[in-house]
Amino acid sequence: MVSLFEMSSLSASYGTSMVLQDINFRVVEKDFIGVIGPNGGGKTTLLRLILGLLKPVSGNLTFNSELINRNRIGYLPQISTGDINYPVTVADIILSGLMIRKGIISRMSSADKSKAAMVIDELGLSGMAGSTLNELSGGQIQRVFLGRAIIGEPKLLLLDEPGNFVDSTFENDFYEKLRELNKRMAILMVSHDVGTISSHIKSFACVNRSLHYHPSNEITNEDLLSYNCPIQVITHGEIPHTVLKYHK
């Protein structure tokens, strides 16, 4: 598989506190990685490094320039970033996903606008193009932000804790939508909710200052043990589950 980007012995810190240390991580085309780990373990920092919002203190992050650059990354931040009462329509929010390539003096062409209309339909938001966020449900708001992330046809989609604002009725639809998108792009999904992570995920990255990557085929019968804290999974009946190897 062709890699999209590669991190080699990469470290990141905020001020004096080291958040990520000596990360070696490669993301291949059309992978679907669940990034799991405790709060404060560096999951969001990992995304910030990939987005270029944070410079590593040491090590390298190299993009495969034939396939991807920072303009071809879609990003779905945690919901708290946008003001849902702001007077901006769904169509305009989705179009803002094109700003990275358009630059700051941008006029949206009619092609851009019809692309936005396509995304709106694809995400089941038909008829809401002219609505503002405070008129939508939590699940619909999430789809608007997903639309903003994918309108530029990215090669890599970064999702930061999408489970945080999914309404449960929409959760299945949302992950189904991600599975479809995964045919066109690699997905890196941050979640601290390990228990309910989507079954569409192909591989895992466990992040807690260090990063351990578990490829898809690595399912064993060993106990789930991560972050030096044994976790017991309790379920009723037949629930599909994945057990990851010990970190070496």
Partner: protein, 286 residues
């Protein structure tokens, strides 16, 4: 004859003032109201009064003093809020009173002629010079071009700054420039509406517009129209009734807002009751 020419000039000045005030206040006000910066703008306004006082004291045009104070305090608060080292509302509160205090002290210390404090606090069309009108006109052109060219960048940065940082490294520069332009707009409108009332000139028109539309640029257009009706009619009423212009404009704008609110509530009720009837029909049909 002379009286007629004087009246004619007076009307032209008032009309141009109303047009430029509503354009600048509409553009700046929509940004301020959408971004919930009303309190910050109030702080900038009152801080700039310190510049007016110092302007008088050292013998320069007080508007220049106000502009310097306004922009400096705007940038200062933006900078501090970016650094997040200080409670923003407290900083604004301190700035607010400090600016007023400096203004009053220096006006008091100015030897000889003491300016009419009331005209700065509550606005007076009589003290508005041709230069003030021209400055407001230039400001209108600058704002139209600035918001016209960078419409989407400004809209998206104020909607979701965190996301904007993922695609642009100009986010902070935009915030500083926009806030400076808003400070200038406020300072130039002080002559019309006065320190105490100018913030309403910025905030009432967008609030009228938002009752009827939620699209940003439509809010701007409706704000300018509402602002023009309010300032022009307020100006006319103040002229004929012989009452202070700033207060009359704000009073007129609030009356327009109340009427608009009633109209929007009534139209909502009508559409809601319409929906209710449709829903009632469904079970009958099935």
């Amino acid at each position: 004859m002379e009286a007629n020419i004087f009246q004619y000039e007076f009307i032209i000045k008032g009309l141009l003032g109303a047009i430029f005030a509503s354009i600048t206040a509409g553009l700046a006000g929509t940004y301020v109201v959408s971004k919930r910066m009303v309190f910050l703008s109030g702080g900038i306004t009152h801080a700039s009064f310190g510049g007016i006082g110092i302007g008088y004291f050292i013998g320069i045009n007080p508007v220049i003093g106000a502009a310097v104070f306004g922009i400096m305090s705007a940038l200062g608060v933006e900078y501090l809020s970016v650094r997040q080292k200080i409670r923003e509302d407290s900083a604004i509160g301190i700035l607010w009173a400090f600016g007023m205090a400096i203004g009053i002290i220096f006006i008091y210390l100015t030897p000889g002629y003491t300016p009419n404090l009331m005209s700065y606090l509550f606005g007076s069309i009589l003290t508005v010079s041709n230069a003030d009108i021209i400055a407001l006109g230039i400001m209108s052109v600058i704002l139209i071009f600035y918001f016209g060219i960078f419409y989407r960048a400004i809209l998206y940065i104020s909607f979701d700054e965190v996301f904007a940082r993922t695609y642009s490294s100009y986010v902070d520069i935009f915030k500083y420039i926009t806030t400076s332009l808003i400070a200038l707009t406020i300072v130039l409108n002080i002559r019309m509406a006065g320190v105490v009332l100018v913030i309403s000139l910025l905030t009432i028109p967008p609030n009228i517009a938002m009752l009827f539309t939620k699209v940003y640029f439509k809010i701007v257009l409706w704000s300018i129209l509402a602002g023009f009706i309010g300032t022009a009619s307020g100006y006319a009423i103040s002229y004929f009734a012989g009452i202070p212009v700033g207060a009359t404009i704000i009073f007129t704008l609030v009356i327009i807002w109340v009427i608009a609110k009633v109209i929007s509530q009534l139209t909502k009720k009508i559409s809601v009751s319409g929906k209710g009837e449709l829903e009632m029909d469904k079970p009958l049909k099935s």
